[in-house]
Symmetry: C2
Subunit: 517 residues, 2 copies
């Protein structure tokens, strides 16, 4: 057994059996070891942003990390943006980054770079294997770090000689994972006191507090105490739709967020961060809460959020006798025929999406109405771009489909963001994943045209237009998708989208609809 074999065995002993990969020469012994391990499923991405975006989507649904295989510093660099998103979603992930053999680093060969330095900003944990004999324990440390709290992004640097050297280390066993922390009684008592003092209070939640059962507890707390509750603006995963509790998100535009939170005197955070502007704007506030609002962070990173909610419910006397108000299934009517609009797209999606669909949302401006409209859609999971690093949508849908092969995955995808990591479509084709991608083809960075207006600029001139419009030439998503083995259609009317989407829901396998809006 060499070091690479020991790495594979350590992953498998701990239930990590999926590896999204884009290898290079320095990882060839790891590739050979994976080849000896058919229990690990290796999935190729044709770009590293695909690899980590898929690992993120996978872990959000599988509730356990995938491994990734990345090639030296530049391979890691390409992977960082979606590691950033994963970190903001608190996704567990184990990135294995190959490096030169340790004795080769002194030559500063062309691919040499400071991998540890690159990894640090987008990793919660970085470790470097020193030799084959300690491969197991370093890998176990990465797994433990990845499974800390709701999840962490970890980077394990694997020198080639540690992979290829023989070791007589014993076969690894499953390790004890970090236990979630029980909620802090004093913080729960403080929150309960705030909920009883008559002040206007909002409870902000994110992470596992957005699972269906947790939201039921949260709604009972709110019903009992009169508090409001709200999800963070961006969340890794929300269980929602018919039969579940409706929850709103903090709006993205600053003015809307400030208006939504006006009058709030107290904020209680349970897995969420206090709401702030996604960006700063001259003369606008950075915090979305009114000045003087008291903020209590009721949990720590390692706290079990469901237990925290239950403890709070107990403290305020919000038991199961309090009736729940759950969303009812309501399929909208077909959209009116005519030119295709984002609203018509949303309507058809909610009309036809099956029960237990997984929605992967990177629709940016075009899809903002989906969230309110889909309260009454069939029960579904809603996965979202969490870190603002565009290029996550198609990979995330890819990974979610790997995790949940029996559920339909629907990607709501802006065209500008989609171009960042369109290579993920090829992985969908290769793995025959059940993903329907809806591309909102508005042929511009619409959000930025809005922001340009916000900064007080007049109508964009030549230079601004050439940086914010995606026309001249227009992207043809049907050809792009077919070029990667994914069948596709392009539609420009509400009735054509309605028919195409309804049809897509009846079939298995990857498909793409270009919605010309």
């Amino acid at each position: 057994m060499n070091g690479a074999d020991l790495l594979c065995e350590t992953l498998l002993a701990n239930g990590i059996d999926t590896c999204f990969a884009n290898p290079g020469t320095s990882e060839m012994h790891f590739v050979a070891a994976l080849d000896r391990q058919p229990r690990i499923r290796c999935i190729l991405g044709l770009f590293e942003g695909v690899v980590t975006g898929a690992a993120d989507g996978y872990a959000r649904m599988a509730e356990k990390p995938a491994a990734t295989l990345l090639h030296t510093g530049p391979g890691l660099a390409n992977a960082l943006a979606n590691m950033h998103n994963a970190r903001r979603a608190r996704t567990p992930m184990i990135n294995v980054v190959g490096d030169h053999a340790s004795y080769h680093l002194k030559y500063d060969a062309p691919l040499t770079s400071d991998i540890d330095g690159l990894a640090a900003p987008m990793s919660d944990w970085v470790g470097r294997v020193t030799d084959a004999d300690t491969m197991g324990e370093t890998t176990e440390a990465a797994i433990r770090a990845a499974m800390t709290g709701q999840g962490q992004v970890t980077t394990l640097i694997l020198p080639a000689d540690a992979a290829w050297s023989e070791t007589s280390a014993p076969m690894p066993q499953a390790i004890a994972l970090p236990e979630p922390k029980a909620p802090d009684a004093a913080l729960v008592a403080k929150a309960a006191e705030m909920l009883g003092n008559g002040q206007k209070t909002v409870i902000f939640v994110s992470g596992r507090a957005l699972r269906a059962k947790a939201l039921e507890v949260l709604q009972r707390i709110a019903t009992k105490t009169g508090a409001r509750f709200m999800a963070q603006g961006s969340n890794g995963r929300v269980e929602r739709g018919a039969g579940r509790v409706a929850i709103e998100r903090v709006p993205y535009p600053v003015d809307q967020a400030v208006a939504a939170l006006a009058g709030t005197e107290q904020a209680i955070l349970i897995g969420a961060k206090a709401p702030v502007g996604f960006f700063a704007y001259p003369g606008k506030p950075g915090s979305m809460l009114p000045e003087g609002c008291e903020i209590l962070d009721m949990v720590e990173k390692e706290t079990d959020l469901f237990a925290a909610l239950q403890a709070l419910a107990d403290a305020v006397g919000a038991g199961e006798e309090i009736p729940l108000v759950l969303n009812e299934l309501k399929r909208p009517d077909a959209p009116a025929p005519g030119p295709l609009t984002p609203e018509a797209v949303m309507t058809s999606v909610v009309r036809h999406m099956p029960d237990q669909a997984i929605i992967c949302d990177e629709s940016v401006t075009s899809g903002r109405n989906f969230f309110p409209l889909a309260h009454s859609a069939p029960a579904h999971d809603f996965l979202q771009l969490t870190g603002g690093a565009i290029g996550e949508g198609i990979p995330m849908a890819t990974g979610a489909a790997v995790a949940c092969p029996d559920r339909k995955v629907i990607g709501l995808q802006a065209d500008g963001s989609g171009m960042y990591t369109l290579q993920a479509l090829w992985t969908q084709a290769r793995e025959q994943l059940d993903v329907v991608t809806v591309v909102f083809a508005n042929r511009k960075y619409q959000i930025l045209l809005g922001e340009l207006k916000n900064v007080g600029a007049n109508a964009p001139g030549e230079n601004a237009s050439r940086m914010l419009d995606l026309d001249k030439p227009e992207l043809k998503w049907v050809e792009l998708a077919r070029g990667m083995g994914v069948d596709a259609v392009s539609v420009d009317t509400a009735e054509a989208f309605e028919a195409a989407f309804a049809d897509a829901m009846t079939r298995k396998g990857p498909f793409l609809i270009e919605a010309l809006i």
Copy 2:
């Protein structure tokens, strides 16, 4: 005038008039400032790897830096791999990375990350603007750093509030750029002594020592002293072809490199690094030079390489009276009809490439024979992947075509690498650049299949095949190109490639040929 205007004016005052860009909200004031500056040409890339790869190709040909515009940490992360390549090519580059307004950083908004930390591993210089008033001097420091030595990669971090704040700083003037250093007389004397002591000596060159005039001086030194000379394995730019001096490169495979350098007793480095293995392999040497070989690095980073060569020629008495042996133009015969091979592709390229073509090579395994075959091709520039971070080829060709609109750019592109940054084809279409991309579609990571064999693995099994083959489904480059507005054909015979390539040379504008080999 706000800080962003001052940034634009400072770039323009120093002749920097091209900006490859992919902006976001935090750079909107910079976009508005660029919109007020029609003298700056803004070129959109649909992914940041396109942006920096194009800036690299541009500067290699323009001999001055382009600016880039990148959006916060994740935008920079996506740009890093081609910054790594640029750094290895000693390319001047000024990356402007937008960040949140300084006072907004404390909120840790979703896109917040450690931009300085991310930039450091792939930048020769990193600076952060503190306010609008000092924008000019910080930008000047970046320009000075970029123009140090042969060129450096610089990252200028631009907080949004420094961009939007008004300033009364004076209009900037052109700054004095760092003077190249004169060669060190003692080092030159030492090198001359080595060349006269009868030992077997190889002079290794790279960078500007690979321009036509420099190579003539080098050849005369070699003729006079009996030394050999050789280029680094990977180089930013070589002026070569008919009427120029032939120079070989250090071979990529370790065994070939060791064989080529066997018996070498002394190595003199002029802008090159001592030859080392691109990767480490068990039981093979890291240095390609024999043990005990004496190595003299004759120059410093800032040394003028042409002056260094001339000083050495003077010291050994290698004057212009020594006749040069220059490549003669020889167009090969048409390849024999039949199934398409890499060799047939090369033959047709050398048969039909016009004078002063710019070859951008990321052909990895398929194109290795181009270099020796093209000694007798018409005079051309040869630009190469320098840092081993694949995904540079199509962007580099894009940037080279922006720099040299009157010259034909020919991209020799492996399919696996091409998929990394295929979005650059759209920029070629938008800017109507005169680039013909030849994709070697072998539908595998061929180099890695070879490396897997090298590590002693048997025939690849399921997992290895699924990580190293690019089939199932096959990529269709014609559809991918057309999806981005670039016309394309696919050919699978030598005669069809010969006809398609000859035809492509008669037309202007972007075109792609998928060579099914």
